[in-house]
């Protein structure tokens, strides 16, 4: 029947609030801009190069995997770009190109695509890549070594490294304000604390990340480091130092909150964040690694399906039939 127009059939509901994966990804990118721009300002062109390369490679790996697996092209949803950006924010500005190539491969292919793509990854892809690089090439993420040729005009020793090797006395070299304003060395996008906090608040208020996770993560770090500090102030640094150094802030707002690898129920989210915070400080204070954030969050990523079993009772469950 040529005169019959085809109407669109679809299941209810016929309204949608307009949210999408694309908007979510681009908002995360938007929120990370202050921190990334501060990093590029500090380290110059090499940092810009690393960020661009990382995002491009991540998207390229995604495209190649889409083609290899014969699935719909998903680079448009921005998730691969976010992974590339997160990875770039965590590494030093002088990272060689092959390390970026390898890292993004691990992140996108091993961390995300082989599990089934977006939403199916068990672990945060960017953190998987960082962990593998950290364990495979020891010097690669040693910020003191990597950034040795920079003259940045402030006390240029990696704060957590200084703390580990020279003890609490070195904490005195860093004022909290300097740390907050990014006057410390570290990953390209992980040192400008104020920018990360602004980005994180933006994401929380707009509902792109769940506020429970970053808040409980920071509380976990604060309380645990405070306990350590009170127990032995000569050996352990105070909570403010821990909150503003290493990957703490980027971990709280951008890494621990990755959707697929974190729980969704209220109590589970609080436990997840708090436990990741506690574990971070445990690794920093009595573990081998300088910064425990990476492994702490990865550990809790693994625990998240189990934590998500703690959920409120559904309506009508366990009600006696009247």
């Amino acid at each position: 029947m040529p005169d019959q127009k085809l109407l669109l059939g679809s299941p209810a509901p016929f309204w949608h609030n307009g949210s999408s994966i694309k908007a979510r990804s681009y908002n995360i990118i938007l929120a990370s801009i202050p921190a990334v721009v501060a990093g590029i300002y500090q380290y110059g062109t090499p940092a810009l190069g690393v960020v661009s390369l990382s995002i491009s490679f991540a998207m390229l790996w995604e495209l190649l995997m889409n083609l290899a697996m014969g699935r719909d092209l998903s680079i448009g949803d921005g998730n691969a770009a976010v992974i590339g950006l997160m990875f770039a924010m965590l590494i030093p500005a002088t990272t060689p190109w092959w390390a970026v190539l390898t890292g993004t491969f691990v992140a996108v292919v091993v961390g995300k695509q082989i599990f089934g793509g977006i939403g199916c990854n068990l672990l945060n892809p960017a953190l998987v890549a960082i962990a593998i690089l950290m364990l495979s090439w020891e010097g690669l993420l040693n910020f003191d070594e990597a950034l040795v040729n920079y003259d940045l005009g402030f006390y240029a020793a990696y704060p957590l490294g200084a703390l580990k090797h020279h003890g609490v006395s070195s904490v005195g070299y860093y004022s909290p304000l300097d740390l907050l304003l990014g006057r410390q060395i570290g990953g390209i996008g992980s040192t400008f604390g104020l920018g990360l906090i602004i980005g994180g608040l933006y994401l929380m208020l707009r509902g792109h990340i769940r506020w429970e996770i970053p808040i409980s993560f920071l509380v976990g770090i604060f309380v645990t480091s405070l306990i350590f500090n009170m127990a032995n102030p000569d050996k352990y640094a105070g909570p403010v130092f821990h909150l503003l150094t290493g990957y703490t802030l980027i971990g709280a707002f951008f890494l621990a909150t990755e959707d697929s690898s974190s729980p969704v129920n209220f109590v589970a989210m609080l436990l997840y964040g708090t436990m990741a915070g506690i574990l971070t400080i445990l690794i920093r204070n009595i573990g081998f690694f300088l910064d425990g954030t990476v492994f702490a969050i990865l550990m809790l990523n693994v625990a998240s399906p189990l934590l998500d079993k703690i959920r409120p009772k559904a309506m009508g469950k366990g009600v006696d039939y009247a």
């Binding site: 127009k5 085809l6 109407l7 669109l8 059939g9 679809s10 299941p11 209810a12 509901p13 016929f14 309204w15 949608h16 609030n17 307009g18 949210s19 999408s20 994966i21 979510r24 998903s74 949803d77 089934g116 793509g117 977006i118 939403g119 199916c120 929380m204 208020l205 707009r206 509902g207 769940r210 506020w211 959707d259 697929s260 690898s261 974190s262 969704v264 129920n265 998500d308 959920r311 409120p312 009772k313 559904a314 309506m315 009508g316 469950k317 009600v319 006696d320 039939y321 009247a322």
Partner: protein, 427 residues
Amino acid sequence: MIKKPFFGWGRPKLKYPVIQKHETDLIELALGKKVIVLFGKPCSDIDEGFLKVGNRVKTGQRLSLRDADDEYFISPATGTVTEISEHIGYLGVNQTSISIKTEKDEQWDDEFRNSGGTVSSETAVKFLGRLPGCSSFASFVKAAPTLDTIVIKGIDEDLLITTNQFIINSRTEALKEGIGYLRRITDAKRIILVVPPALVNKAEETGTEVKVVDPVYPQGLPEMVMKKLLDRTVPEGKTCEQMGVGFISSEAVASLADAFGQGRIPVHKIFALINKQGLCVNIKARIGTPVKDVLGFLDIHTYAGDRLVLGGPMRGKSIYSEDTPVSEDTDAIMIQDKERVILYSDTPCLNCGECVRACPANLPVNMLVRVLENGLYEEAAQEYDLLSCIECGLCAYVCVARIPVYQFIMLGKYEFEKLKSAEELNA
């Protein structure tokens, strides 16, 4: 369409429309050239002795297909039966579509009036089984002895619809009368009228018990009313009726008053028409009027790719043909422009948790959708509370990955029922 607010960390707040006291506008549609009745039995069940093409029918005539005591429908107009054909309805149910060519001179059928018009459950089952606003009034009356409470819905279940509020506002007297008839038919001990705050005064004029519902979706759904207002949570897999509470719309109750008051079975339905801009008007039309006529009357044009929905934006059903008629249960006709339609996608769940926060019944929707996608219906019911779902559709409304979550859940429930009945057969 209501978009997510800029600051959107909480659960979605979708407000029901609340009509104001002076709002009594109603567009009345004249009878068209043709009416169509959809009957829930397959074509093959029809006995030609009862109904065949060429039969003359009168308005309000009780027509059965096979047996005088069997299920029946009410002819909404006077005219000649021109076509009896098969129609595939929701969930693939075989239905019969009966077209009636209408005549200008309307003749009312007298069977109901001549039956004496005694107000009893027998009369109600025999003649008023399909009331506007409650197409299953017959089974409602049959179930009435097991009910201890009847809730009259003064607020509509879905968004944008104000039919029931309109009835309370403009037909208060009829409603009051109808409640009296309902009491006599069902012997109900307790009849509660549930209304939004703006209509409390009007509702109290009916003299029955009034409860106020917060006009935020999905508080108007029966399960939520049960939980919030009656303090009786419906156990998973049970219905409100099994809990002793029956729900009926204000429109059906007011229709009862019309039926017994005038001795004529009501054949008009009031519904909302939601146009492409999202504006709503209340319309009164003959049951059986094809959607095409309604759209034509209001000069609304549809084009290929538009979406036509019977019902509201959250729980309606999309239709594929403009010949689909307005039925007793049509609360709204919604037209969506193809530019405004947001399509579902087959992206896997992101685990962002929006649905879990939106769910009024605390379902683990993120897990549920995973098991349902893989067809594990029994696991969904046992481990992930599939049967606790109250079918509000908020999960799909907020889904970032645009998964048709609501459809997955409905399919899951349907398939689980099938599995269960197959098991019972084999046992």
